[in-house]
């Protein structure tokens, strides 16, 4: 918009004056100056006509009636209430029915009216999910602790009985924990024994490769596939590119050998070191 002044009105302030003029706020000398500018300015004149016309067109847009089901749906999706009372309201407003609710329906509406704030919240998917998960966790915890639903019936709520139940449960948890600890201890002892026996036989350096068949190395290989993009993966990914791929694949066993050599280089002194530590080290190299 060219910023020229005509009749004391600048084009850049025309926008504001335009709104005021159409709203009937502009009066007296200001209004006269505005109209004078409108008549003489080749930019603001047509703009004023268009804005005025647009505003008149919009007057043709009367309010539309929302669908009759809107309120019912809103209440059903917020408070969770889809009561007979509301249905009656809707049908009455439509003049479609002269049906009046029975005392039972009114009671239902009343009761659900009382619990609806809570129920509405619970019905929301995220809350329902949380409640579901909480219930699931609780039932898992209870079944681990050995609590059966049938037991609940015979629960006594006397303070002494509650104390008794509490100590009983505690003892059961401690016993469970001790059992697990025992199993782990036995397992680690067995592993230690194995480790002490195997390296004694595998002492000669040339036979170090046999470690490959050691099951303790399998997790390590698996980790490599998951956490790093090693050469093998890259080669397979570009397999269709050319014959060199097959050469590379043939080299694969050699790669494995070199890996094992690496391992040997890294712990030449203490062969009793757990294999896992080697793995970890190599991954950082």
């Amino acid at each position: 918009m060219p910023d020229k002044t005509s009749n004391g009105v600048q084009c850049h302030e025309f926008d504001t004056l335009l709104s005021d003029a159409l709203d009937g706020v502009l009066t007296g000398v200001q209004l006269d100056a505005f109209h004078a500018h409108t008549r003489t300015c080749s930019v603001c004149g047509p703009l004023f006509a268009e804005v005025q016309a647009g505003r008149n067109w919009l007057k043709d847009l009367t309010e539309v009636e929302p669908p009759a089901s809107l309120v019912t749906n809103i209440l059903a999706s917020t408070t969770g209430v889809d009561t007979q009372r509301l249905r009656v309201n809707v049908s009455a407003s439509q003049g479609a029915s002269s049906f009046s609710p029975s005392w039972w329906e009114r009671a239902q509406a009343h009761i659900s009216g009382a619990i609806q704030p809570i129920w509405g919240t619970v019905r929301q998917p995220r809350f329902a999910m949380s409640f579901g998960m909480a219930f699931f966790s609780l039932s898992v915890a209870l079944s681990v602790l050995g609590v059966k639903p049938a037991d609940l019936r015979s629960i006594s709520l006397r303070p002494a009985a509650i104390r008794h139940t509490y100590y009983n449960t505690q003892a059961r948890v401690v016993r469970y924990y001790e059992n697990i600890r025992f199993v782990y201890e036995v397992e680690s002892r067995v592993r230690e024994l194995k480790r002490n026996v195997v390296p004694a036989e595998a002492a000669p350096a040339g036979e170090k490769k046999d470690h490959k068949n050691d099951t303790t190395q399998q997790p390590e290989q698996k980790q490599d596939r998951n956490y790093s993009q090693n050469d093998t993966h890259l080669i397979l990914a570009c397999a269709p590119l050319g014959p060199s791929v097959f050469d590379s694949l043939n080299h694969d066993p050699l790669n494995q050998d070199s890996l094992n050599l690496d391992q040997r280089d890294q712990d030449p002194l203490n062969q009793d070191l757990p294999v896992v530590s080697v793995t970890t080290y190599r991954r950082f190299v």
Partner: protein, 199 residues
């Protein structure tokens, strides 16, 4: 347009879990919200879904309404507008092709709009005619850019004042006035083209 005390009380009752208070809010504002959604989104089905979404959001955030910070109607309109913006962004991809089609035809001969005014030679009764005009204006409104459309809807259809609109749109009042005027002018241009075609 609203008694601040009455509305604040209604909101408090509602937050406290009074279902009747919530129903009153829904009854009072559903028409207004539905109309904003209908004029902005263009279709009655979308408007119904959107209005329902607005009330769900309102219901969840009602406790955050602070009557000292502004009128309830401004708060409600802000929620509505924000949801409409989200809806617009979500469906933007669909509309890009639509608006391209519309733009092409607008440059050619504005057919989509003029097609909606049927048989001008045999004038039907005034009510039908006014309904047809209304539909034409509604269709033209849908062609405005969302910024101009929302400004025009809030001012000319919802009768909000500039300050309220500025709060809802989070822009200065000057920008609001400018958008309203540009929206009206653009609408007039679209409709003039249409009617020149027909008449």
């Amino acid at each position: 347009m609203e008694d601040v005390q009455v509305v604040a009380m209604l909101v408090r009752r509602c937050v406290a879990g009074d279902a009747a208070a919530w129903e009153e809010i829904v009854q009072t504002y559903n028409r207004r919200i539905y109309n904003i959604c209908y004029r902005f989104a263009g279709s009655a089905d979308d408007a119904e879904d959107l209005a329902q979404e607005v009330f769900i959001k309102m219901y969840r955030t009602l406790a955050s309404y602070d009557s000292s910070k502004g009128a309830f109607v401004t708060w409600v309109t802000t929620i509505t507008r924000n949801l409409l913006v989200d809806h617009f962004r979500k469906t933007k991809q669909d509309r890009i092709t639509d608006s391209l089609d519309a733009a092409t035809s607008a440059h050619e001969d504005a057919l989509p709009l003029s097609e909606q005014i049927q048989d001008q030679s045999a004038p039907p009764d005034a009510r039908v005619r006014s309904r047809e005009v209304g539909e034409t204006v509604h269709a033209a409104l849908a062609r405005l850019s969302p910024e101009l459309r929302e400004a025009v809807i809030l001012r000319d259809l919802q009768d909000l004042d500039y300050r309220e609109i500025a709060t809802v749109l989070k822009v200065p009042e000057g920008t609001v006035k400018s958008r309203i005027n540009r929206g009206r002018a653009e609408l007039a241009r679209l409709l003039q083209r249409t009617y020149r075609q027909v008449m």
